[in-house]
């Protein structure tokens, strides 16, 4: 007997893993950046690294929605795929509104 979709983990586990590792990566960047700016002064690379960490934090929820989008599409759940796509679209619009 073949289990359907046995290759993929449940969505909960995928999202938990993404958010956990993403939080650690973003915090790591910010901590490294702050430490560097303490050593080499505020004009050095440190603040750019910390800014990258902050950008990753803002990106993380969007990545979470993108993961859901892919998961729903793979499961042929097109209704929820469209809903996730809409949320992703709104976040993108917000970013581009800010750049103008």
């Amino acid at each position: 007997m073949k289990a359907q979709g046995a290759s993929s983990d449940p969505l909960e586990i995928l999202l938990a893993r993404l958010l956990h590792h993403g939080t650690m990566a973003a915090s790591g960047l910010i901590a490294a950046g702050l430490a560097l700016s303490l050593v080499s002064g505020p004009m050095g690379m440190g603040m750019s690294i910390a800014t990258a960490g902050i950008a990753l934090f803002i990106l993380l929820p969007a990545l979470r929605v993108a993961t859901m989008l892919i998961f729903f599409l793979r499961a042929r759940d097109y209704r929820y795929g469209a809903i996730a796509g809409l949320v992703l679209l709104i976040i993108s619009i917000s970013f581009f509104v800010g750049t103008r």
């Binding site: 969505l11 909960e12 586990i13 999202l15 938990a16 893993r17 958010l19 956990h20 993403g22 939080t23 973003a26 915090s27 910010i30 901590a31 950046g33 702050l34 700016s37 303490l38 505020p42 603040m47 910390a50 800014t51 960490g53 902050i54 950008a55 934090f57 803002i58 990106l59 993380l60 929820p61 969007a62 979470r64 929605v65 859901m68 929820y80 809903i83 996730a84 809409l86 949320v87 709104i90 976040i91 619009i93 917000s94 970013f95 581009f96 509104v97 800010g98 750049t99």
Partner: protein
């Protein structure tokens, strides 16, 4: 930059995120008043930094809820269409609303939170009642709008939407609300970040403090006697509300605004 300021920001974020976790509220509702009233920071910088704290707390604390299957993922993404739309609208409004109105709006949200904490949440046993999705979506749109304007998670509007309009059990609605808060805050933070309104020197120590606070808060959630803490925080919310209202009217008792 003085390291004292960074340490202070880190400590504020650590404390508020930890208490936020214990009380089931987002950290932003405490961070913005503390930064503006005590730190005398500009409210727009405080809102930007606070949004990062809200995202960090939501992301850091989501994993255990997901693993315990307490988060209603499908309902969350559905409601997120409303919260992110509200946030997008809030991003447009943020530049137009005068600063003193932001303080007054913040004061009323603080009072609403105090009232909500006083009332306490109860699981309903009338299982026959129907879910009211349109009402829930409308409240969620409002929550997104307020979140973008004030830099808070807007749990104060999400929780009644979940409890009353959608009739979810408390544990599920708390986990789902926490899950949604990150996406809602990211929708407005993306615009503020693109505009260059998120100040790294403020947001970086706050993000670190928030992650640590959220992780610690989840650990001590069960061990703290809740009743005294609850009453203490109702008092703090009311005091902060009064102080924010006074600043809204141009009076800062803590210190002169520079």
């Amino acid at each position: 930059m003085p390291i004292g300021l960074e340490l202070w920001l880190f400590a504020v974020a650590l404390g508020t995120s930890m208490l936020g976790g214990v009380l089931g509220m987002a950290s932003g509702i405490f961070i913005v008043p503390i930064l503006t009233v005590f730190g005398r920071l500009d409210i727009h910088s405080a809102i930007g930094a606070s949004l990062i704290s809200v995202i960090a707390c939501s992301c850091a604390s989501a994993a255990p809820f997901l693993k315990e299957r307490l988060t209603h993922i499908r309902l969350a993404i559905l409601l997120e269409t409303a919260t992110t739309s509200g946030a997008l609208c809030g991003v447009f409004l943020a530049g137009l609303v005068p600063t003193n109105y932001l303080f007054l709006l913040f004061a009323s949200i603080l009072l609403l939170s105090a009232q909500q904490m006083l009332a306490r949440r109860k699981d309903r046993d009338d299982s026959s009642s129907v879910r009211r999705l349109p009402l829930g979506m409308t409240l969620m749109y409002g929550a997104g709008l307020i979140s973008a304007l004030l830099g808070i998670g807007s749990g104060v509007l999400k929780i009644p939407a979940m409890d009353t309009a959608l009739r979810l059990p408390i544990k599920v609605s708390s986990a789902t609300s926490n899950f949604m808060i990150g996406v809602t805050a990211a929708a407005s933070a993306a615009a503020y970040f693109a505009r260059g309104e998120i100040v790294t020197s403020l947001a970086a120590p706050i993000a670190l403090g928030s992650v640590l606070g959220a992780l610690l808060g989840a650990r001590i959630l069960m061990k703290v006697p809740n009743e005294k803490l609850r009453l203490m925080f109702i008092a703090i919310l009311v005091i902060l509300a009064l102080q924010m209202a006074l600043v809204g009217f141009g009076i800062n008792l803590i210190g002169p605004r520079s």
